[in-house]
Amino acid sequence: MKFDTPATTNPIDQLKIVGKPIDRIDGPLKTTGQAPYAYEQNQEVSGVAYGYVVGSTIAKGRIISIDTEAARAASGVISIVTAETAGPLGLGSMNTAKLLGGPEIDHYHQAIAVVVAETFEQARAAAQKVKVRYAKAVGKFDLVAERANAKLTNEGRGERLTGDFRTAYAAAPHQLDEVYRTPDQAHAMMEPHASMAKWEGDKLTLWTANQMIDWGRGDVAKTLGIPKASVRLISPYIGGGFGGKLFVRSDAVLAALGARAAKRPVKIALPRAFIFNNTTHRPATIQRIRIGCTPDGKITAIGHETWSGNLPGGKPENATQQTQFMYAGPNRMTATRLAVLDLPEGNAMRAPGEAPGLMALEIAMDEMAEKLGIDPVEFRIINDVQVDPNAPERPYSQRQLIKCLRDGAAHFGWSKRSAVPGKSRDGRWLVGMGVGAGYRGNPVAKSAARVRLDAAGKVTVETDMTDIGTGSYTIIAQTAAEMMGVPIDKVIVRLGDSDFPVSAGSGGQWGANSSTSGVYAACVKLREAVCKAVGFDASKAQFADGRVAVGKKSLSLGEAVGPKGLVAEDAIEFGDLSKKYLQSTFAAHFVEVGVDAATAEIRVRRMLAVCAAGRIINPKSARSQVIGAMTMGVGGAIMEELAVDTRHGFFVNHDLAGYEVPVHGDIPHQDVIFLDEEDPISSPMKARGIGELGLCGVSAAIANAIYNATGVRVRDYPLTLDKLITHLPSFA
């Protein structure tokens, strides 16, 4: 099904099941420990051996020799694979660094060997006996030092100019020119990267924690040098991804290589302390923002430049993405520059680009509002725009950022905020409120599904879509139930298997909207097939209560499809509506913090997000996506930072004790309000993305609240207490 004109009325609009806060259908399995993740597919495989990965202990250089003799002789060892013995390996099209390094080493903890043994304990012990001699080379590990060597990239359009930024900025009566820094961040999803590999002849089956089944299938094949058709990927449950499982990683490739060498199934989970340097992370940024304004708060010039680093061939963190579109202003300049760094591979993490970009931009907006003496909510409203500011003939499909801000301010009690910082006190706490606007694109991608209706009236949906905690199982079931006119418990959803039709996968907050649209398309086809089978006019047929009816003629779905049932398969393919219309999602984040007047300890006291993201397919799971992202935003604001050792080139705090993420004690009750929207330009579901929006703007709202509480402006994330304490107001 082509989607190239805005949606009109369709069966989803009935909203009998879609739009309802239905409990997740995978809940009973997940809450009882019955949902099997990649490492746990014991019912699928017997005689599995255990792989343990050996990582490089230098960041750059060469392996002179690997001595595996002692490891091979260790108890229980079955096989050891290194780059020398693995045979020729390709580089996945989504990978920057090789997943099995050697002799060249590209980054610290790059995998260089896998030891396969009878038990986990034996594999781990033997892995310690692999002796490696290195020739260390000089690497570049310091973004600040390499900033001057960074080059403009084509990613994020390199340098983008609209109007005459330089002249307009110079002429602006009010100016802001500040530099902000965001650190390297880790996905730190709870399930380690894990894979289990089984060969049958030259066919490989890989149970693996992966967000994008078809990308993964392609890259496993490319890396191993075998046909894509010889690879099957299965990933029914994934313990979080946040972008960290978009790509094939070393666990998958080494499980496959280890299983080939051992001649039996092998499973590997990356040890937690290995994940931070072995896999990908969100790269650190340095961002310079300049805003020029008229005295009444109209932006006349806005400039945003960003610097980040990556391995050769890697991509930049495109932190200027939102600034190209978010606020009005005739004169605009954005520039994305990339330096070469020999740190582990930087890549997408939840809301890549916008998350760190808004961490900077939304502090800058707060600072500019204060300079102007305008309330920061009003300042954003003054600079709202309903069209692409670079191409005014291109409207937004829908943009209610002003309503998000106004509704949020009213709900949160924003009017009680003191415009002068450091004035509100609650016992030992300095109290402040902050606002940050959220903006994230609404990408869509082709997505296919197969839908089967059987004689019992049950509907089975199959698609290689993944559920990484996002609620895909549930919203796909809701979509099929609404379309076929059956209760949700008559729908079976099977996901995450490359034998199923190729979906959009889970990434870039396109998954929910795209994959349910694919299921919609397949259901439209199935409805037509049902009508054809019983001689009904499909354009007049009603599917409801498990029956198909035209006028007074009515049949149960089971009767209609007969004993053999019916199957339909289709994909949604998106036309150029995203070119004609700017499609985005919007949020307003409001936060109240307390900062201990003596110790500068920061506590988040209240959080509210108001989101505009088209139709909300399931308000319960969508709300969870948003509060989860708000929680990650608390981490980004006040605790998360991969500490770089710039001498040896690695992330020092590579475990969950050193890399601090929010815990229960850090998070208050959170509120979320969804604006009642439907967006017919986005998809037949009339939904937009929500999974990343909740992270966009929230960290800056916290930073702004800390400023409002203390009067201390910190532009270097995370805002830890050491950056505040020496600047706090003195107290008696």
């Binding site: 009973p28 038990t119 815990v663």
Partner: protein, 211 residues
């Protein structure tokens, strides 16, 4: 080739040793010239009561309680998130008290009663905490969830039993069931999906706390 003293040399060990010898035979020429040491794993028999069922396992002494459950009993509801006691995904109840099963060797639990997520309830017969997690959407990816639920059940018991926490203000009084107490006590269970707000609501419902 030396054969270290095993605590017990079971038939399984002999088989394992045979496997190890076969595994190195591929490099026989070098191995023959230079004898290498193969140390057999030291194993011990362990008796556990898991979810009310007696289990006897012959385990490598290095095997954690977590891996005994997951890899030997195939009770994979208990999760390995970090293997270092930093995330709480492996939380189980041992003799009614919650512990990080990754930080504990299986052989340390001879004769003890272990309750895992599978022992709390099943999809058709949910424990009230499991049902409340579903109702309040106290999970997303599901990976930390069994540990959260085991912890949550234990936390309510700990408060009821009068055990104080870091945030208990009056150590002589019975701690009250409050969101602050629950958040503090649950802070060893990380949820990167960020379901904390919902988890506290689920626990509040089960604990009978009205907001």
């Amino acid at each position: 080739m030396s054969n270290p003293a095993n605590i017990s040399t079971s038939r399984r060990d002999v088989l394992r040793a045979g496997g190890a010898v076969a595994a190195v035979s591929g490099m026989a020429s070098r191995a023959a010239a230079q004898p290498t040491e193969i140390s057999l794993p030291v194993t011990s028999q362990v008796h556990l009561q898991v979810n009310g069922k007696p289990q006897t396992l012959e385990l490598d002494l290095r095997t954690t309680l977590l891996d005994a459950l997951r890899e030997h009993l195939h009770l994979t509801g208990t999760k390995k998130g970090c293997d270092h006691g930093q995330c709480g995904a492996c939380t189980v109840l041992v003799e009614g008290r919650r512990i990080n099963s990754c930080l504990s060797l299986a052989v340390m639990h001879e004769g003890e009663a272990i309750t895992t997520i599978e022992g709390l309830g099943t999809p058709d017969n949910l424990h009230p905490m499991q049902a409340a997690f579903i109702k309040h959407d106290g999970y997303q990816c599901g990976y930390c969830t069994p540990g959260q639920i085991c912890s949550a059940v234990a936390v309510l018991d700990e408060i009821k039993a009068g055990l104080p926490s870091h945030v208990t203000t009056d150590l002589t009084a019975t701690p009250e069931l409050s969101a602050v107490e629950m958040r503090e006590r649950m802070s060893g269970n990380i949820c990167r999906c960020g379901a904390y707000s919902n988890i506290i609501e689920a626990m509040s419902e089960v604990g009978g706390l009205t907001a």
